[in-house]
Amino acid sequence: MQNRNLVSISDLTKDEILALLRRAKEFEKNPNQHILDGKVVGSLFFEPSTRTRLSFETAVNRLGGRVIGFSDARTSSQSKGETLKDTIMMVANYADLIVMRHPLEGAARYASEISKVPIVNAGDGSNQHPSQTMLDLYTIYQTQGTLDNLTITMVGDLKYGRTVHSLLEAMHYFNPKFIFVACDELKMPQQYKDYCKELGIEYEETRDFSEDVINKTDILYMTRVQRERFSDLMEYERVKNIYTLTASMLKGCKPNLRVLHPLPRVTEIAQDVDDTPQAYYFEQALNGLYTREAIICRALGL
């Protein structure tokens, strides 16, 4: 049987990514289709993630399928000490597909190796969250008309932010140029810079979130700087304000620039940016529905 799990974005070839994006475009035109009639999808959220869960469950519902599962491990038998393996084996008896979110890294990979039904990873700790990456790619494609030869500026927490790491890996097929904007504490790990070097991907690194940087950017990918990443809270207060985007900083930007953010945002995008034509993060979240519909159909071979 063809491997139809989606655990990590790096499991997908360029052609598979493009096929998923084409499928998502069909769902954007018509999100309600009776493709999953009679199918049951297990939605196992071992840690709460309302945004991702609602997006996946809406996708199943709009395709005519039904959802079983739980939204918090406290309400599952994991709280009684059941192993992940036993939970997966049990649910795989009932469901045609399992969408799972788990606080431990590698949980989805392990589940995919013991489950008899396909597994879609909806986030495993700080490791992978491939449906987020797919919706980022879809949004880039939708706003730029292409994925090729774009300048992507990533701002904020580039050290711990899994979304930027996965996006970087997924974009390597499309000849991107990256600009990494972060403070020293949160800069892009060496491992990913080596990855760019190996593949001949051009990148710049700067601490300075300036208009010079913004003006040569096609996609401005903002991320949240999280307080818990800092041992020194004074440092956090300083850094948090440096990496805040305001509407006035976008005055000289390229007309095609769009601002993306995986959400939730806190202070890193000022409210006045919401009213600029560049703001695109809410549309980006909506794209999560279409790309997840495409991911579910691929997993079920439909």
Partner: protein, 152 residues
């Protein structure tokens, strides 16, 4: 036979078995552990901090009357990538080869990431060998260097 040869033989002359040579001293007992030597009933000689022309100091293990499959012996390459295996038959070295790291390590090494599923579930570990100094966890994708390796 040279005088030096006689001195080594005085430690333990193997009629049949395996000599594992050129083990880095800090890795000696990890090799003992990987091969499960503590549970063997064969005659075993373990030497450490022996002088070595190529390494300065080295560890060495002799196991009598045993025939271990290559895959088992290659497991020690995780901690002793330059170890040399000598197969002894009737006091003669009939085969001599360096250990080879396999492409995948199953249940040899523990993941260093406490949030890895493999440290939280009763399951085998699995690492992909990137090169002889770096291993990547199949599950959480953490890269572990040879110096950081903790045996399971």
């Amino acid at each position: 036979m040279s005088i030096q040869g006689k001195k080594e033989l005085a430690v333990a002359a193997l009629q049949n078995g395996i000599v594992i040579d050129h083990i880095p001293c800090p890795a000696l007992f990890k090799v003992v552990n990987i091969l499960g030597i503590e549970n063997m009933e064969n005659g075993v000689f373990i030497g450490n901090n022996l002088s070595s022309r190529s390494m300065g100091h080295k560890g060495l293990i002799k196991i009598a009357d045993i025939d271990l499959p290559k895959e088992t012996l290659n497991r020690i390459a995780v901690v002793a990538p330059n170890a040399v295996i000598n197969i002894i038959k009737d006091y003669e070295v009939v085969e001599k080869h360096k250990v080879e790291l396999p492409e995948d390590l199953f249940d040899i090494v523990k993941c260093t990431n406490p949030k890895c599923i493999s440290n939280n579930e009763p399951m085998s570990t699995h690492f992909h060998v990137l090169d002889k100094d770096e291993f990547k966890c199949h599950f959480c994708e953490r890269i572990v260097s040879r110096e950081e390796v903790v045996l399971k």
